[in-house]
Symmetry: C2
Subunit: 305 residues, 2 copies
Amino acid sequence: MTHLSDIGEDALIQRLVRLVPLDPSPAAGPGDDCAVVDPGPGHSKLQLLKTDALVEHVHFLPEAAPRAVGWKACARVMSDFAAMGGQPERFLVTLALPPHTPVAWVENLYLGIGECLRHFGGVLAGGETSSVPPSSAAVISIAATGSVLRHHLTLRSTAKPGHALLVTGTLGGSRHAKHLTFSPRLREAAWLVSHFKPAAMMDLSDGLARDLPRLAAASGCGFVVEPSALPLTAGCTVEQALGDGEDFEMLLALEDARVDELLAAWCDVFPELALTRIGRLVEAGAGETLAGGWEHFAPGLGIKH
Amino acid sequence: MTHLSDIGEDALIQRLVRLVPLDPSPAAGPGDDCAVVDPGPGHSKLQLLKTDALVEHVHFLPEAAPRAVGWKACARVMSDFAAMGGQPERFLVTLALPPHTPVAWVENLYLGIGECLRHFGGVLAGGETSSVPPSSAAVISIAATGSVLRHHLTLRSTAKPGHALLVTGTLGGSRHAKHLTFSPRLREAAWLVSHFKPAAMMDLSDGLARDLPRLAAASGCGFVVEPSALPLTAGCTVEQALGDGEDFEMLLALEDARVDELLAAWCDVFPELALTRIGRLVEAGAGETLAGGWEHFAPGLGIKH
């Protein structure tokens, strides 16, 4: 019998989407950071839909501060809206918790969700609570709607060979703290789509080694990365930058001729956040491959962070 | 230290919603079956948002057919759209599963989701998968958007003393099978809001004894129920009809003077589904109380069904 640990997350999703009715005329193909709903030609904004989940022992340890866990649960979804060039709107929080969970833990979780909503925009629109058996991991699932101006929508699938690849911030080492405290790049992405609209963009959640091949494949491209150019978090190796995951930085593709102008303008607007050219897209079949990154159902894996 | 099992679900939610920013001008107050988003006065339809979760050992047993589990996960959300007078649109499925889960189990789960979507309308718009630790319960969380014509929107909070109370179908005994195979009352609710718009409506998920007081409280009313009038599922007692939960029938309030006309018309349109007057709303503080029904975090509770 085949188990999830035998095939992995991407193959699983490909098998599942064949079994259900899909949007017959989606505003964006499946597999992007968010689902995109087009309300019709008279509307300047598209709706974004996203769901995400945090699992105890997988995305956070039982001893993690619940306020930081709430922030992370909310910020992960915000990061996906950023990757599409959009903004968050309404959030639905589903909690599946053991009955012995302290009320104070849940209140602090919500305080963290509230902090993130106040900081980046968005309101709580609803929720659901359920018990899980006493020995089960807590699960926090957040679904949200967002919006994006039609001409700001940025997909994974629209880059071309020759485009430069850039990342915001630094990569690797998020498990030491950043995975619980990161800032979703909403402000930076909003500036990018207004001033230097990327040909493609996504957020880095499973590690560059896993996410870059997804962007390249969605765009029908190969890729080349210059390891010595990778912006490493202090104390991290190239392997960590490629594989640790949960960086929640933006990976973007841009016409090569515009990169110098972008980098100069970026320094003025975001002087404290790196923006680094790390490589380029090439023709499909050319380029290289990368090993590493996070696979949810891989056998023998422990906690994500 | 206070735990979830000490205060219960309703009290928990009241404490949590104070900690986060809420929609400053909601189209419906919190606590209804769905969140309601008003896109503005030029739009004839309102958007509905809903999230819900199924937990192994709580909402289904490990030996349950995964196809039925998928149906149930999807149909529960549909039932909430029905309760608002609306229709389902786009679904987001979040799976948190142990790595040893057979791929065939997940495929059958999705087949059940697909069956429900094809039967009642709605498409899959996105999803997310995560592992849980090997000893943890599987969690299936479904968030969805729906829509409702502005003049069809039916809330819990708009009934008045004197209104009659009615329920569709029969109550009790859902654990024997119906909780996995029920039909959400979308068609029936759509007919009701078009022809005999209820003063208030909700779906019965936690048992009449728990859900009716919620509708009455939301409307600022008390209630009186005639136990001998309750439509019992064959073989069930009044206690089961009040407390088993997961009936997924509609509970509605209607002006007393229109009930006879409704019951006569209903028989012609839905001859195979009961619609039964079970009591009435009264002034707040008058009326009775009911004991029983499902409480997620109650100590010592086993599986919901």
